[in-house]
């Protein structure tokens, strides 16, 4: 580097003479736009592959659309009214809400309890944590096919296992009705969501200073008193993040239902996303499918704005 120093002043002079603005001004100008250059690649990537599809979907939902996806003009929200008129839609909406609420609530509860357990010191804790992470890492399609196999009446391993253990004498039909299938899909959803909640809570638990508990013990607080007045308030932020993210993920979850039942029979196990997939790619009703997407956004928007307000407010406190 030292050998090159003599050349530097010359270069600086050349730089100074070329722009019209005086050097401090250029520098300030560069300072102002510099951050935007840094975020530009990310913005371009998201603009093309996220924002444009969003705009397209909104456009399609407002227009009459041909099967080939060509726009044929504004049709006075006919796509939305068509969807509302479809008797299947209310069933699908009901399923979506049931699916999201059941999976998120139960997995949050169980994940929280599991995190409390795993936060104890015991032998094999590391192994247990590694095992619990498995379902999170496995792709949902595979996890769902495994469960589809397990609950099969004729050759599923659940029946086989229960019969080997002499708990039942004849195979049970676990999936006798659409409701039963849907329940199994929810179970599978819970199964794969627990690890995420568990690890979010664990990270919150590990940041709690032990002295709080010691002080509380000295004051004669019982286990549940400590749980509700120390643990819960301190892991609240981790729990909020995991819950809101889970609402979004679970609401939009496609592979489990698609693999196990494809939403059949007759939309009885459909949620919004499988319903719109079928509308768009099986029935060629892109306009109606986009309307379903928009309805989905609006529902999620409420959740996401809560999340955004919460996290940004948090950020301001830190800054």
């Amino acid at each position: 580097m030292s050998t090159k120093t003599p050349a530097a002043p010359a270069g600086q002079q050349a730089q100074q003479s070329s722009p019209r603005l005086p050097n401090p001004g250029t520098k300030r100008f560069f300072r102002t736009i510099e951050p935007y250059i840094w975020i530009a690649p990310s913005i371009i990537l998201m603009a093309i592959f996220i924002v444009t599809p969003i705009i397209k979907v909104f456009q399609l939902s407002m227009n009459k659309v041909t099967r080939a996806g060509k726009l044929k003009g504004f049709n006075h929200f006919e796509n939305f009214t068509n969807i509302m008129k479809d008797p299947a839609f209310s069933l699908v909406l009901k399923n979506t809400i049931l699916w999201t609420v059941a999976v998120v609530v139960i997995s949050t509860l169980l994940g929280f309890i599991l995190a409390l357990l795993l936060n104890n010191q015991f032998k094999g804790r590391k192994v247990a944590r590694a095992i619990v992470v498995f379902p999170w890492a496995t792709t949902l399609v595979i996890q769902a096919s495994a469960w589809k196999f397990i609950v099969n009446t004729d050759y599923g391993t659940l029946n086989t296992l229960l019969m080997e253990l002499k708990l039942i004498s004849a195979p049970i039909n676990w999936t006798s009705s659409p409701t039963a299938w849907f329940a199994w899909e929810i179970a599978c959803g819970i199964f794969v969501t627990i690890p995420f909640v568990c690890f979010c809570v664990l990270s919150g638990l590990q940041s709690i200073d032990n002295s709080y508990y010691e002080a509380a013990t000295v004051d004669g607080a019982g286990y549940f008193q400590k749980l509700f007045s120390i643990t819960l308030p301190l892991v609240k932020s981790s729990l909020t993040v995991s819950t809101v993210l889970n609402i979004i993920y679970v609401f939009n979850s496609f592979p489990i239902i698609w693999t196990m039942t494809k939403g059949d029979p007759a939309n009885h196990t459909d949620t919004l996303v499988t319903y719109l997939y079928k509308l768009a790619f099986y029935n060629g009703k892109q306009g109606e499918a986009s309307a379903v997407s928009v309805i989905g956004f609006l529902i999620l928007l409420v959740c996401a704005s809560v999340y955004m307000i919460y996290t940004l407010r948090k950020g301001d406190e830190d800054l």
């Binding site: 840094w38 690649p41 990537l45 357990l117 015991f122 890492a137 956004f297 830190d318």
Partner: protein, 284 residues
């Protein structure tokens, strides 16, 4: 631990401890059960699977694991998955590192708006946007191409990338970079030479996390890829999941190949990922 061991342990504590072990053991067994079922099934013959009645295979047919490679273009699927996941990771990082750096180290107008957009973008899962994505890909001539999936995965992982990396960068003091700047480094040099090496654990965590997400992606690939030879593993293994007959033994043998690399990677980052998620979340 040794201190508590020396003290006399009350019966209540022993019972609680046993209960803890019992519950944790149960959880582990239930968690591993699907994998156990998959492995057992992958080793059975077709006849044995459909006649039912056995948990463990009567005779383990290891050849199932070899047959899948000739029954379906498994090697091709695997290669596609590696290319999609690897490509997405590279692009997501190339776009995400500068953005996270700007968010962590600079102050600019629209910072909050950008961060807000990043958070809201998580709300739009690819499934909901599939129709829009399909049309954009048609315009760009990227349907039925691996490159298209690379871009989609990279874009939809931007939020996480920026989130995790911003948390990591903000957790590192800017003093050293400032010192480097005084020594004559420009921003890019001080980032590359000072910040990135220190932030390496966080970066590796993010990298692996994106790789896993892209590897496990199913829906967009299912919709965009028609050519059998371009399918990633998640979509490709459904070759064994036909309309009339499901070749469970092959499906699960192939699934095991798809799971193993990811589970190993995941276990490597599990600890860092969680603290990263939390710090990103708490630091906003």
């Amino acid at each position: 631990m040794t201190q508590t061991a020396k003290k006399p342990v009350s019966t209540k504590k022993t019972i609680l401890r046993l209960l803890l072990y019992f519950v944790v053991l149960d959880v582990c067994v239930i968690t591993l059960y699907p994998y156990f079922a998959m492995l057992c099934t992958a080793l059975k013959s077709r006849e044995e699977i459909f006649s039912g009645g056995t948990v463990l295979p009567i005779t383990a047919i290891w050849s199932n694991f070899i047959d899948i490679w000739s029954r379906a273009p498994m090697a091709r699927y695997m290669l596609n998955s590696v290319m999609i996941a690897g490509g997405s990771t590279i692009i997501a990082m190339l776009c995400g590192i500068p953005a996270a750096y700007a968010l962590a180290r600079m102050k600019f107008k629209g910072q909050t708006a950008f961060l807000g957009f990043v958070i809201v973008s998580q709300m739009f899962a690819p499934v909901v946007l599939l129709i829009g994505i399909y049309q954009v890909m048609q315009t760009l001539n990227l349907t039925n191409s691996i490159l298209g999936l690379v871009f989609i995965n990279a874009a939809f992982n931007q939020a996480f990338t920026i989130w995790l990396l911003r948390g990591t960068f903000m957790g590192i003091s800017a003093d050293m970079e400032q010192a480097a700047t005084i020594d004559g480094c420009n921003r890019i040099q001080s980032m590359m030479k000072v910040l990135l090496p220190v932030a390496a654990p966080g970066i590796v965590t993010t990298l692996i996390f994106i790789f896993i997400n892209a590897w496990n992606e199913y829906t967009v690939a299912l919709c965009l890829i028609q050519d059998d030879l371009l399918k990633p593993l998640t979509v490709g293994i459904n070759t064994f999941n036909g309309y009339n007959i499901i070749e469970w033994q092959y499906l699960f043998a192939a699934s095991i190949f798809a799971i193993i690399p990811v589970v190993i990677l995941f276990m490597c980052i599990e600890k860092n990922l969680v603290s990263g998620l939390a710090s990103g979340g708490v630091k906003g």
